[in-house]
Symmetry: C2
Subunit: 378 residues, 2 copies
């Protein structure tokens, strides 16, 4: 087995848990936020900086790396770890989400998806077997099965078909996987907002016995209440002794609530993307330093943050950089936002271990966020 997972602490009130996920490139303390490095680089950051802020694992995108520079080239370079100079764990998604959302003129059949590159319009065909070949070439520690992620809203019929297709493709991925001893293949649950379809999807995957499971098809535009309602139920369909990964989630409220519901892993472009738009995540909420209100604010992005950006640079300077479209502005905001989210998750883990996760949650969010989805017995 490529990975092993141990739950080291369980919150007595919520479903939150702290774990250790062991991979070929080292251990990951969960719950964990995974910065996204779409093209083999977390935008604006070096791997050294990622290590400095204690990023434990990064995500890279199969669809993007397949198109540019190509998975064979990455394999020639010695795999993605070596290519991008990152020796800690990597997770690659399967491209399922991207071929449907980015590819033009997608045609889906029983075997896979024909799509056109968003770069040059060239035509490509992804099957479960092809995706396994690409992910093997990239060489990540954790690889994702090829799935169909329905947009929101979708009809029950459409979601049901997507669940069935995703189940068949998951089985084919498992059979086609090239390096099971060095790469852990995760199955992806679909089912939209239909509890019985979520259950059906989960049960079929669990029967195939994957080393980990992802919850897909959430954070695709549905209201927060729908997301929380689905999440509060569908985590229970997954085995407690395997890591659970909620895809595409990176806001403070979704992360902490995901942890509350028992999720171990998260990824999202949010912290890095809003950084490039001039927005900082802080203990006092979002701060859009681009705004003129900060032109003469010589204090740090977040007075409660201990990162090197907050120690050395003012909101006024960072605003000046952002307004001038200077790369350093993107760098400083990206560094701070990732530091902030990684610290948030480290704090959540520590709170779980110390048995005070509910208090930790309450310090960041109102309990009403989760109350209706959860019978607390405080």
């Amino acid at each position: 087995m490529a990975i092993s997972f141990t739950v080291v602490a369980q919150c007595p009130v919520t479903k939150a848990r702290a774990g250790v996920l062991t991979t070929p490139h080292g251990q990951i303390n969960t719950p964990v936020f995974m910065p996204v490095g779409t093209l083999g680089t977390v935008k604006a950051m070096t791997p050294e900086e990622l290590a400095e802020i204690n990023a434990q694992i990064v995500l890279a995108n199969t669809y993007h790396l397949y198109l540019r520079p190509g998975h064979e080239l990455v394999a020639e370079a010695g795999g993605l770890h070596r290519f991008m100079n990152w020796q800690r764990p990597i997770l690659t998604d399967s491209g399922g989400f991207q071929v449907f959302s980015l590819g033009d003129m997608t045609k889906i059949d029983a075997d896979g998806v024909v799509f056109r590159s968003h770069l040059d319009g060239s035509s490509h065909y992804f099957t479960p077997e092809k995706v396994m070949e690409i992910e093997a070439a990239l060489g990540a520690d954790i690889i994702m099965a090829f799935d169909q992620c329905p947009p929101w809203p979708s009809s029950r019929e459409f979601v049901e078909q997507a669940v069935e297709r995703t189940t068949r493709w998951a089985r084919r991925c498992k059979e086609a996987q090239l390096n099971p001893s060095r790469q852990a293949l995760f199955g992806i649950m679909q089912g939209g907002s239909f509890p019985d379809l979520r259950r059906r999807s989960a049960e079929a995957l669990v029967e195939m016995d994957f080393p980990g499971y992802a919850i897909g098809g959430l954070s695709v535009g549905e209201p927060k209440e729908v997301m929380y309602a689905v999440l509060s139920q569908c985590v229970d369909f997954l085995p407690a002794d395997k890591p659970r990964y909620l895809m595409g989630v990176g806001s403070e409220d979704y992360l902490l609530t995901g942890v509350w519901f028992g999720v171990d892993m998260f990824d999202c472009v949010l912290p890095t993307r809003i950084a490039r738009n001039g927005t900082a995540m802080t203990s006092q909420g979002r701060v859009t330093v681009r705004n003129s209100a900060y032109a003469r604010d010589f204090g740090p992005l977040d007075p409660n943050c201990s990162c090197s950006v907050c120690a050395n640079y003012s909101r006024a300077y960072i605003r000046h950089l952002v307004k001038s479209n200077e790369i350093l502005g993107h760098r400083l905001l990206t560094y701070h936002n990732l530091y902030y989210l990684l610290k948030l998750m480290e704090g959540a883990r520590q709170a779980i271990i110390e048995g005070n996760f509910v208090q930790y949650y309450r310090r960041h969010l109102p309990l009403e966020e989760v109350d209706k989805y959860f019978n607390r017995e405080e």
Copy 2:
């Protein structure tokens, strides 16, 4: 006096010399290349990285900082050093070059220049007194007098007028300077390619006794032969005991030849600008990693370079980043190019001290570059 300058070694063959320039923010070993941080940031670099590669002083642009974020704001922030988090020396130019080259609809009169901002078309008026006020607010260690830099080619009459105006303005700058004990004001020699005008400009400035002198009006599009011919003469018009600064020069050949002719200080956007266009400066010449020839080149940018980029990243990876317009591509190339140029200059200084500068020059450039301008007695 804000600065002091000592020549510590003189090449026995050429006019090259090694010096130490002491400023309020520390010592600078010359000859020195000064990375350009136009808007208070050397594009794509942090101050920590600049210190890591041993940048001794950076340049910032008065015209740009005056327009954005405004010199009063920088003063409120505690000056440019504090604003940009750089505690080593800073030099600010005077904006003379920019108002003529970037400003639209420039109108020049005896007192100064009316120009329109390249950002929003707003109208502004720079006089020697105004420029001294702005440079005092920015708080650099070395500040430049307001000059008129004629384009190349220009008529003798035009250049003569520019010399006269530059001389008058230099005197007014000296009289208007606000902090002579904390900021060293350098005069700028003009005179185009006319040796007698260069001499006239230099003599007038030297009579005013500036703590340092710049050679302006070169590297503005003239052929290399013109540049070298002017340079080989006009350095002699400047006193040996004061630092000499050749403005706007950053290619390997111009730098080493400038050192040969007795120049101590240089600045240019070249290494950082070509980095962002995907080109590396290397011991084997320029390497445009953007080119497809490097798609599968898994070696470093420069096999003879000991920088952290060359230790950790391949040409293929950097090409991938550049092609994908990833910030990290700009970062890695900028870091390497500055490292390369700073090492080149450190090597030149060491060679001068060890008495083998001509050999050092020959290792990098053909001696024919300088032979016709210089009677060597090897």
